[in-house]
């Protein structure tokens, strides 16, 4: 492979790099469109999935707090139609940091505990977030 032009290291930014980045960008946008973005309806229910099985479903309309145990423990709080993981003893704390969620289709994940809180339902209705009078 001596003197093969292609084996020399190219260390300066070139057009091909921009093209590669653009392709990845397009792939990301396509995925975003596929998974749905923008305004979503408020979810009606939160599903608790652990290790790929549905452990329970809770309406977001009822405030409550519960603990999901497994390899670790996650304290889940439902309040004012939103849900968050209030506290956890997992190493990363990514689930706690992800904060409050209320949109349908979103999920809160705690990988160490193999936990996924999936927000579902309520998307069918047109959004009425401002009825006054």
């Amino acid at each position: 492979m001596r003197n093969d032009k292609h084996t020399q290291p190219r260390l300066t930014l070139c057009r091909g790099d921009i093209l590669a980045a653009a392709l990845i960008f397009l792939a990301a946008v396509a995925l975003l469109v596929y998974f749905g973005t923008g305004a979503r309806g408020n979810a009606a229910t939160v599903q608790v999935w652990q290790d790929g099985t549905l452990q329970g479903e809770y309406p977001l309309a009822v405030d409550r707090e519960f603990v999901v145990a497994g390899r670790y423990h996650n304290t889940v709080q439902i309040q004012n139609g939103r849900v968050c993981i209030l506290d956890a003893d997992c190493p990363g704390q990514d689930c706690v940091k992800s904060g409050w969620h209320k949109d349908t289709g979103r999920s809160i994940v705690c990988l160490p505990n193999r936990l996924e809180l999936r927000l579902v339902g309520g998307a069918a209705e047109p959004e009425i977030d401002g009825v006054t009078g």
Binding site: T7, L11, L13, C14, A21, D51, S107, V109
Partner: protein
Amino acid sequence: MDKTRRLARGALLTALALGLSYMERFIPLQLLIPLPGIKLGLANVVTLFAVYFLGSRAALQILCVRCLLGSLFGGGVTAFFFSITGGLLALAAMVLARRLPFLSIYGVSVCGAAAHHVGQILVAVALLRSGYVFAYLPFLLLVAIATGFLTGAVSAACFRAMIAADLPFTSNMEATYVGKIH
């Protein structure tokens, strides 16, 4: 190059990669982009170096030992699966991208970063047994473009300095480099 030298070089690079990935834990990137699984990927500079100057076999060896030791020092089994899957996919992508004549080290690095995140998502999907996690992928890909360019820039600067200093491995390596820098 004899066996002992190769072993010493591999060990040195593995240590460097481990040091870099430990160091970058102190960079609060999560404050800027609040997504789980986001990191700069500075250890990728070492993988890039191996891919460019030592060949894909040495790169694979360094990667495997790095992931094994990294999860022994902290992280555990879950972290091991994440880093090895992400790392292997990134390495494969970079070895392939390296062969494309129209990509510089920046493009190769971006491809690696994107592949790394695809690997992470695949592990997350396998662990949770839920396809929902795929919804994170587009965000991770967007971040990968930025972090890929950044580690590409760091690598380009390092390699330039190494070639300019005429370090031994830049002139008589087994795998690759002949000629001038572009």
